[in-house]
Symmetry: C2
Subunit: 782 residues, 2 copies
């Protein structure tokens, strides 16, 4: 924490905008944190899962007799034990399968005294499969006569989304330039350092306590209950420290009901934890999709329309993941001022691994397309991309076709700041001029941006949060909040807000937010919402406490409450900051007075957004923001390797609350986006994952992290806490197309199917050179 050394008595020091460490950081850095993966409960059994290991098959025979007889085995479960326990977004999943639809389908599960016995028991389970012809791309799945994956989903059709606005034919006619490309974003996975893990235990009343990594504990109960055939009220969710979530824990996966069903059968706590290989194979993915996008503009660089026709690889089951088009369409329709929009998305069942949600939630895929097409159109119009972007950038008060209201919009400032800080215009021209000259190493600079909800997303009936705040006799504050800490840093934000309102040191604030029976309702960590929503909830609760305290202080001191403030652990006089009464002393006076009062307040905050609705035409977030990334890269044209030298970021953060947390979220988000852009790739061949290990999956690691130049643009959002907006997804969303645009600037090639691996880049450069020497050279390969 920064300290002001020369503050006068009168100066009120604000916490907002300071740099504070996360309270969980020291324990994590020193190895003291006890993750769920480390947990052991008394009498706990180990559960293990038998995976199908093939993409599509009938189970001809399944014999668990030998496994059941193995000493130390307490339970063996198969599909016949879970008949009817349907779960998932369209209730197409079961904890244990009676038919194989993807490689990691759960065929049987055992609970045993030790992991070794459990493993041996799995080996004793006899299964005979009859393989079926599979479907491995959404095009194949959608084809007439394709093998059916679920009997009750004809044509392998899972989810369908559509949004249209304006007269497309007219807009097309008015367009001087149209870009028309097919983008093929690929499968990646979250790679949480803590592998998937759940521990389940039932009490004698049939109430389940599940220790799990979920990031949405309240609706999780609703989603888990049908997989167990119990009432969601009979589920208590406890969230021990998690080793990463990034959206992956916004769903129920079969290992969770499996742990619970084994616990129910054995009347013992059961832990199911994946190995790294199991984690790669069985945990969710970011959806791959085929995005056919067209964008038009006039000769003067005014956008005329944008269409997107999206075919998503749903995988074998439908989680929350395939709802990403809800977010995609807001980018397609709202990324720059687009007067006419036509968006369609269809999720098609395949025998591939299936998706969960993943930071960026559809916007990663959408922005990959939109931000490249913006660059391509600027090229066609032949103006500097910055100028093209500025021309089409929305300003405060504009409303998108989907009715998103862009209050406090500083997109233009973001564009100008990033461009100025990186000397974008000069470098872009210079590098483009170098492009066709000899030389192995080429530099490139690329600009990309996107829009994202920054004030929650009302996709449920409520986007709110409950908060309970109490101050004890020592002026120590406890905040019981629905907001989960999954490593993103909400706890320190809450501590700072309480410190700001109550004038206590942030370390005097305890956060209680990992037990669904204790903490009040919240919709979960998603949609970049937590600082916005929980920040508001905390601030409102703290302000109620503040009012109660100042009123009591006023009575005790014979002053007016409005003449008093809370600073540095004391009640002070507002006008000169003179300390009048220690806060902890006041708390005891309030407690021990003849009419005793304890400070215990509650608050429920619901943002002023509108429900998403079936027509997708509502102001579904209480705020929106933009980020601009400018990537500077060096391309080895021989090997195709892209080195990202520097990333300049200008992002509308509303208001900085914890500067350190902001930096961490933006840098961490970009790291995920870099992996997506450059190296990470689930190599799925006929439904089988070929690279289920870090050696072959190629996560981005510390040495590959570029220099960052971060600019936080403060738009002072009226609805946000102290003006703050949600910020955490945009960094992951924007970096990949910025690099793609830089790659074009450096080499003249475009990659539409990430990652931009050395192999692909080298091949593309080679092909461009071949084309460049041909009669119709210079065309952008598509």
């Amino acid at each position: 924490m920064e300290k002001t050394t020369t503050a006068s008595l009168t100066a009120k020091k604000t916490m907002i905008g300071q740099r504070l460490n996360k309270p969980d950081a020291p324990d994590k850095a020193t190895g003291k944190t006890r993750y769920i993966n480390d947990m052991v409960l008394p009498q706990m059994l180990i559960g293990k899962v038998l995976f199908a290991g093939r993409p599509h098959a009938r189970i001809a025979r399944l014999d668990t007799t030998a496994a059941e007889k193995l000493p130390g085995v307490h339970a063996v479960l198969t599909g016949k034990d879970v008949a009817g326990l349907k779960f998932g977004f369209v209730r197409d999943n079961v904890p244990l399968k009676d038919k194989v639809r993807c490689e990691h389908d759960e065929i049987a599960a055992v609970a045993a005294e030790t992991e070794e016995i459990a493993q041996r028991a799995l080996e004793l389970i006899e299964v005979e499969y009859e393989d079926l012809p599979g479907v491995f791309t959404p095009e194949d799945g959608a084809r007439e006569g394709a093998p059916q994956i679920h009997d009750n989903f004809p044509g392998n059709k899972s989810l369908h989304f559509e949004f249209k606005d304006g007269d497309l034919a007219e807009a097309e006619a008015a367009s001087d330039f149209v870009v028309d490309n097919v983008f093929r974003p690929h499968h990646v996975t979250h790679c949480c350092m803590g592998t998937s893990c759940a521990i389940a235990d039932f009490d004698h009343n049939g109430k389940l306590t599940i220790w799990t990594q979920t990031q949405y504990p309240y609706n999780y109960k609703m989603d888990l209950a049908p997989a167990l055939g119990i009432h969601p009220g009979n589920i208590r969710v406890i969230q021990p420290p998690v080793g990463g979530a990034f959206g992956s824990k916004l769903d129920v996966y079969p290992y969770e009901p499996i742990a619970a069903l084994l616990a129910k059968k054995t009347a013992r706590p059961v832990k199911v934890m994946y190995s790294r290989e199991e984690e790669f194979k069985a945990s969710p993915t970011r959806q791959s999709a085929i995005i056919h996008m067209r964008t038009g503009c006039t000769r003067d660089g005014t956008l005329t329309f944008r269409t997107a026709d999206v075919l998503m690889d749903n995988g074998a089951y439908t989680s929350w993941g395939p709802t990403i088009p809800v977010v995609m369409m807001r980018t397609v329709s709202g990324h720059y001022r687009v007067p006419v929009v036509d968006f369609k998305a269809q999720a098609i069942y395949t025998n591939n691994p299936y998706a969960g949600s993943f930071r960026g939630y559809g916007n990663v895929q959408a922005a990959w397309a939109t931000a490249q097409q913006m660059d391509m159109l600027a090229d066609l119009v032949d103006i500097d991309p910055l100028e093209f972007h500025l021309k089409n950038a929305q300003k405060s008060g504009e409303v998108t076709p989907q009715k998103s209201i862009l209050n406090e919009c500083v997109f233009v400032e973001c564009l100008e700041t990033a461009a100025a800080a990186s000397d974008y215009g000069r470098k872009r021209k210079e590098y483009a001029a170098e492009r066709n000259k000899p030389g192995r190493y080429k530099k490139g600079i690329g600009l990309a941006s996107s829009i994202h909800n920054a004030g929650g997303a009302k996709i449920h009936k409520s986007d709110g949060i409950g908060t309970i705040l109490k101050v004890d006799d020592y002026a120590r504050v406890t905040v019981i909040t629905g907001a989960s800490e999954i490593g993103q840093g909400i706890d320190v934000v809450i501590m700072m807000i309480v410190a700001e309102e109550l004038g206590v040191p942030p370390e005097h604030v305890t956060i209680v937010n990992n037990d669904s029976d204790i903490a009040p309702w919240d919709v979960g960590v998603h949609a970049s919402r937590t600082t916005f929503i929980a920040g508001n909830g905390t601030r409102r609760a703290a302000q109620k406490a503040r009012a109660q305290i100042l009123n009591a202080a006023a009575r005790a001191l014979g002053e007016l409450a409005e003449d008093l403030d809370l600073r540095d652990g004391s009640v002070v006089r507002n006008r000169d900051g003179a300390p009048l009464l220690k806060l902890e002393r006041l708390m005891r006076q309030m407690h021990f007075q003849p009419e005793p009062e304890l400070v215990m307040v509650t608050d429920y905050y619901e943002p002023n957004s509108e429900p998403e609705g079936a027509k997708y035409s509502s102001n579904s977030s209480a705020a929106y923001s933009h980020a601009v990334h400018i990537a500077e890269i060096t391309v080895d044209t021989l090997t195709g390797e892209i080195k990202v030298d520097k990333v300049t970021v200008a992002q509308d953060v509303g208001r900085v609350i914890n500067r350190m947390g902001l930096e961490g979220q933006i840098e961490g988000g970009i790291a995920i986006g870099l992996g997506y852009a450059l190296s990470e790739d689930m190599r799925i061949e006929k439904g089988m994952l070929k690279n289920p290990c870090f050696r072959d999956y190629k996560l981005i690691t510390a040495p590959e992290i570029p220099t960052f130049d971060l600019h936080f643009i403060e738009s002072y959002c009226v609805e946000g806490p102290y003006g703050a907006k949600g910020i955490s997804e945009l960094p992951t969303i924007v970096i990949a197309p910025a690099i793609a645009n830089a790659l074009y600037n450096a080499t003249g090639v475009r990659i539409f199917n990430p990652p931009m691996s050395p192999e692909k880049v080298a091949r593309a450069i080679h092909e461009r050179r071949v084309q460049a020497t041909s009669p119709d050279g210079g065309v952008i390969p598509s």
Copy 2:
């Protein structure tokens, strides 16, 4: 739970008075409960303590070099590391000593990787002692020129208490009969099945989390802080399930700061847990005392005065324990209508083990004297003791000399009920007539009673409790309360009260009450207060929630709130019980409506009692109650063995809330009192405990439990929850003198120094026979 089978729609079934299992019972019965003793934290070290093993000595030399060098040892602490860290009721204790004042004085402590290494390290610590002459009785300690135990407590005087009311000389002159005896209640200890245990861990901000067995988590922080030299606000207390407390965990003992100081030094969690032998030697006692009591009455059986001059064995240090005279004096002054009172008590330091608090808290010792003297006086007046008791028993509205206001007093009903149920009058005469006839086995019946606070005890600045109650979207209720569950059964009482007010099944209520950072303030489990205080707090909070829910229901249904009720999980029509709306559905409607509301309420309840005050003249409890025990025994006059055949109890419980819990508390309390009366005895010889094991200590066990005939007299206390009063200490208090009176009835002998062991009883009977055959025979031995 009892079920009503023929309830009509209109009948509102009440929870109050039902029989419910404790929610922790099944796990305890099946061995699933994870007590603090079972807990293991990651990186946890084991702490062990080197005890002096002698009662009074100077430490001439202390060398820990070898212990420190032992591999696996992380820290060794001695008295020089804790200089100035004074704690205890008069700040006369330190975590580690620089002088020996009792056998279990803590000389050094180590933290090591394993218990074995820690034990070996203790053996490597070299200590040379110079023994000092000791003081082993309070008389010896009070004597002029006695060895001084603490330099700053001259004359070995610890605490002093006095209360006088009325003209003693006049009362004595008006007395026709006076009994004058010296009672010598002995040392016993709590014998918790879970031995003393604490685990301490500091975070990087210097905040201590201590997992401990305390039954007063909030003031515990205040008591522990000076032993560590930290601010009490920097302590978080977590209470895992405890294997018994019975008052013993109402204080800070050296092992707790030792665990914390070792944790601080090693920056690792440290667990200190006593072996059973250590537990016997180092855990607290019930005070031994020398009570010189005189009681007078007139010829018609009207009490005239009572005096008590008490010399207490303080032991080597002053815990909260020696404040028991505050309770003793209320029995001396308020047990029956006593117009004139003179009470004095002095605690004298000795080199014996020292006391903690123990269920009954001074009243066990006081009632041992008062209830025997009542029996003796009845004998002198020569009327049936019942008649004598009834003549002097207070009635509703009477005020004791100390200003205790006996509202809703049903003492007479208790006396009459117990006597009638046991056929006391007839049996007493019959057994007395048999007393001097031949025969080895003699039957006896004895009546005893006492008064106790039953509505808390305002010995701190507040006797209140904070409660937070929330109802979730599934109509599951969470109560966050300051009331600790230490096995006494408060959780089920809270569940029943919530069920009563909100019409939900009790198992739908989760109690959160084991973490001082989460739960609001409460003074702790003592003074039989928890059902009264926490019951009121819970009821008030539940009624606030009920009002909010009924108002919302009224709006939703277009009804008046007063026409609605909550029953069986639904909003129902009051007049006919017709269900109108599922409660969980209403909760979701309230949450998802345009003006959303969650049910989250807070309450702080402070009883209407008065602070104890330095003059001990105030109505310090919000209620008082009485219990009458009638013990029926068979005495083997040859061996002196007393077999308790039956105990008839009539106790003013105010109102039965959980009938099963009441039975359990009364039967369990009597079991403790039976051990005190008959067998338990710390054999302390020159400060050294000679029987530190269950074989020699002789706890009462299941086969010795008599038949119980329990009568709950419901006085409907206006201030109590549903009329209930606190009940848990009286059972332990009353049984011993009831047996003593029965022993007199059976044999004509009285024992003044418990336990009434076979050896003492046989000797007394023998001596009486010798006296009976002497010229002045028939005198009661004293």
